[in-house]
């Protein structure tokens, strides 16, 4: 029963975190629904063991817990992968932004100098060049 209570408490904790992140607008509504139902499912699976065993036997896996462990590892690996891809995309976007800022800054500076040069010496004759 100890395990069930720990998982229940952790589930409540995770659900409350998801809700708080939603209130801070770091999570969108579909994502909150996904995470909340994910944790509700986990907690249910711990409390109703026969229910999980029937699913696992359907997939041909011996014990109920094994099935969930298997599914959890699969899901986590996939989420990790997605996270990495997202992070990489963000990193590249950030670099593009930094690059654009630096180039624009220099361009504006160079343009300003050209304007200043032109206004400072308006009488430069062309044959000089």
């Amino acid at each position: 029963m100890v395990l069930e209570i720990i998982i229940l408490l952790f589930g409540i904790f995770a659900v409350s975190r998801s809700y708080l992140r939603y209130r801070e607008r770091l999570l969108t509504l579909p994502l909150v629904i996904f995470w909340v139902s994910f944790w509700v499912l986990i907690v249910c699976a711990v409390f109703f063991k026969d229910w999980t065993s029937s699913i696992s036997s359907f997939f041909g896996i011996g014990r109920g817990a094994d099935f969930f462990l298997f599914a959890a590892i699969l899901l986590l690996s996939y989420l990790c992968f997605r996270l990495y891809v997202k992070l990489e995309a963000t990193r590249q976007d950030l670099t593009k932004l930094v690059r654009a800022i630096s180039i624009n800054e220099k361009r504006m500076h160079l343009d300003e100098n050209i304007v200043r040069l032109n206004s400072a010496k308006p009488d430069i004759s062309e044959e000089k060049f």
């Binding site: 990495y84 990489e88 670099t95 690059r99 800022i101 630096s102 800054e105 220099k106």
Partner: protein
């Protein structure tokens, strides 16, 4: 402040003696891209050395979010200085420099490390294959003719392993896969897309050469490992994370 910069540039950090040659004047559209991160002590002498070969208006320094006064030192030395407002890594800095040089109308772009390990006069031989049209990309190679001074055994071994790794992954046979001194033709510079912000860009450039079927050649260059460049440079152990990063990026792109 000004004095300290002036003094440090004159200190023994920079290994190459100056000799005025300047074979490339304003009319040659050769631009040198120098990515710099916290290099205030040597950047001025690196630019001085470069001005023996190209004019200062053709030196594009990208300050990669340095916390010291690299920008001031580089601007005082007369180079064009671009500033990354946050540190994005050497690969990102080189890509910025290449983009800006192309916008200025560059025909040949040379990348050159800011820590003083390269010799500006090597650029003359480096760009020859591009000028006579026999190559699109010229890669500096520290092992071909000169023996790298002050190289440690483990560094040598890791560079050799890196060469085998590159051969295996990209199908390009070079014996020095992490050299910062290289020359790109205008066409090659446009074709090569550097997405790796950090040190894996060197492998990425080789990969892009293979993908775009660019003609490349290796030219001997001298590399001197000064105390400064060793301190600033990569740790030997980071080679594996660079390789891993490069392989993973290949998986997801």
């Amino acid at each position: 402040m000004a004095e300290s910069i002036g003094q440090s540039t004159m200190s023994g950090n920079y290994p190459y003696p100056m000799e005025r040659v300047q074979p490339f004047d304003e009319t040659v559209k050769l631009y040198v891209v120098v990515p710099a991160y916290n290099e205030e002590s040597v950047i001025a002498s690196v630019i001085d050395d470069l001005t023996t070969v190209v004019s200062p208006q053709h030196i594009v320094v990208i300050d990669d979010g340095s916390s010291d006064s690299t920008v001031v030192a580089a601007e005082r030395a007369g180079a064009i200085v671009l500033r990354h407002c946050i540190n994005r890594g050497q690969g990102a800095a080189i890509a910025t420099g290449i983009e800006f040089a192309l916008a200025l109308g560059a025909a040949i772009i040379v990348t050159f490390d800011a820590d003083g390990q390269h010799r500006a006069t090597d650029i003359v031989d480096l760009v020859k294959p591009i000028i006579n049209g026999s190559a699109d990309v010229v890669l500096g190679n520290r092992f071909l003719q000169y023996k790298p001074e002050g190289i440690r055994k483990d560094r040598y071994l890791i560079l050799k392993l890196g060469a085998i790794f590159t051969w295996f992954v990209s199908g390009i046979r070079v014996s020095d896969c992490q050299n910062g001194l290289r020359a790109l033709s205008w066409r090659a510079a446009q074709a090569i897309q550097i997405k790796q912000d950090r040190m894996a860009h060197a492998s990425e450039i080789l990969d892009e050469i293979a993908r775009e079927k660019l003609r490349y050649v290796e030219v001997p260059v001298k590399v001197v490992y000064t105390e400064h460049s060793l301190r600033k440079g990569q740790r030997t152990s980071s080679a594996f994370s660079i390789a891993a990063r490069f392989l993973f990026s290949r998986l997801i792109h």
